[in-house]
Amino acid sequence: MDLGQALTDAIRSAVGLPAAAFAIAAIGLNVQFGYAGLLNFGHVGFLMVGGYGAAITVDRGGPLWLGVVVGILAAVLLGLLLGLPALRLRADYLAIVTISAAEIIRLVIRSRPLHSLTKSVFGIRGFADSFYDVNPIPRGRYGVGDVVFSERTLWVMTVAWLLVGVGTLLVLLLARSPWGRVLRAIREDEDAARSLGKNAFSYKLQSFVIGGALGALAGIMFSIDRQAVRPEFFFTGVTFYTFTIVILGGPGRVFSPVVGSMIFWFIISFTDGLIREALQAGHIDFIETTDLAAIRFALVGVLLMVLILVRPQGIFGKREELFLGD
């Protein structure tokens, strides 16, 4: 059994595109869930309108930069559309509205009547050529030891991690500002914030839209990496991977999404690799390689449960805060 291969793959995931794209998505969710306390159970919907916004724009003859703008604007619109009615209601309504909206968007995208626009189940391929055309990195293989990347992968990774950096800086500035203070107050007690002259609804809407825009950016990077968008990329689980990442890092902490995402993808890839190796070597015979996707889901669940038991506040969270409620 080749442990080295599983480890190499795990490190590749942790520093590579999946971790970077999910870190961006998690930065967005952290603004919504971590700072403002909004239960957005349809975060994948924002990734989806981002990715599809970019892909459709290019498919229709537009440049990719315009596609990125369209994707982000689509997410802002989605945020307003869902937030304006649902954020006035109790927190659980937002959860219901968002989880159904994400699924509705996915089903509409893959529906036959929209085939000419979205290519339904086949998806849109090869829309990001112009991104790779401007790759400044010379052809070759880069890396340390067995962890090597092609110039193509390195280019996407670099851009994605730069965006992670920008997103983190944004949240760092917001979190330390009076704006962030109002958000934390709303998360804990909306009425207290309102009684002190803060328009709680407006702040919730702002954070919901900003989180959604970051989600769109994640969806765009995710799609550029795959050079394709397909409805099944944006399954409901993406939202819960992102939640796991935020909770793993600790909600409402600036660096949680980044570190959480790296650890999450390391663990997922490593266990994936281990099981795969064990299957090939014949150590396990009661499951098939095709079951791996389902096993991954189960692993995310187990990971979340272990986390809640061992470190409920997350990596960066403060334990004493959990016990301050009376």
Partner: protein, 285 residues
């Protein structure tokens, strides 16, 4: 019990301002200089009338107590006036400005700030952050300005200084870096009152400020309430403890069944038959 209404603190003016001298003790009586005027305010819950106030004026610069038996509609009236509950009918104005239909945060910004029966000191924020939150008109509360700290850092410093001065006055300055949740019940009441003052209100509405407070702290809390009046603020408070009400109020409004059944000075309320009936039940005739 330390609820005996004692003498006010040395630095505070002992005599109440005389804004209600000679005002007749009857429901809906006009005052010389009202800060809050309520007209025809009505609120029903599932057909049950919670508040039905024809006319009520709250005197400026004085401490007005809102009393009444359980279910009299005191807290509902509070919630209506501070925008936390939607009214069914009626109007009310604060400082001559119509406020019905305004949202809670707008009312607070206009200078009418409330506290809550169940203290809403934010537990997971430091005492200092709780205080800073209370300041109105912060530039850094705008999303775009928040990203440019040089736009608001000077104002933030001014707010912090003001917060520290208030914390010293309320004897909480030694706890400024602690979580709100680590304070005792009485300290949270103090923090909530101090935080409300950060908004520089003209009218402070205190919903049961003494509820759940260690008796040893009651006298200090009372002094702080008197301090608000000494600073020129108007105070309205809901309270059940009659010793407190009689000892501190300049004017008392008694509600029963959502209606104002009596108002007057503490002396005139003490032996008002309508009030006694409301509390003890109507006598057989």
């Amino acid at each position: 019990m330390a609820t005996e209404p004692g003498a006010p603190g040395p630095s505070l003016s002992a005599a109440a301002p005389s804004g209600v001298d000679g005002v007749e003790a009857r429901p809906g009586v006009p005052k010389p200089d009202p800060v809050l005027v309520v007209d025809g305010l009505r609120k029903t819950f599932d057909g049950i009338t919670a508040v039905d106030v024809d006319h009520l004026e709250i005197p400026r610069g004085l401490i007005t107590a809102l009393i009444g038996p359980n279910g009299a509609g005191k807290t509902t009236l509070f919630n209506l006036l501070t925008g936390f509950e939607q009214l069914d009918a009626g109007t009310w104005s604060f400082d001559g400005r119509r406020l019905d239909g305004h949202a809670a945060h707008q009312i607070a910004r206009l200078g009418m700030v409330r506290t809550f029966q169940l203290t809403k000191a934010l537990r997971k924020m430091s005492v200092m952050d709780n205080m800073k939150l209370g300041a109105i008109g912060q530039r850094g509360e705008n999303f775009f300005a928040a990203l440019l700290p040089f736009l608001w850092s000077a104002q933030e410093q001014v707010i912090a200084d003001r917060a520290l001065a208030l914390l010293e006055r309320f004897n909480l300055h030694h706890m400024q870096d602690q979580y709100g949740g680590s304070l005792s019940g009485g300290q949270r009441k103090l923090l909530e009152m101090a935080r409300a003052l950060m908004a520089e209100p003209a009218l402070v509405m205190l919903d049961e400020p003494m509820a759940g407070v260690n008796p040893a702290l009651v006298e200090s809390l009372l002094d702080h309430v008197r301090g608000l009046r000494a600073q020129g603020m108007s105070v309205v408070f809901v309270e059940h403890n009659m010793d407190v009400v009689m000892g501190i109020s300049d004017w008392i409004v008694c509600l029963a069944g959502g209606r104002v059944i009596a108002e007057g000075t503490p002396e005139s309320i003490a032996d008002n038959e309508a009030v006694i009936d409301a509390y003890l039940g109507t006598r057989e005739s």
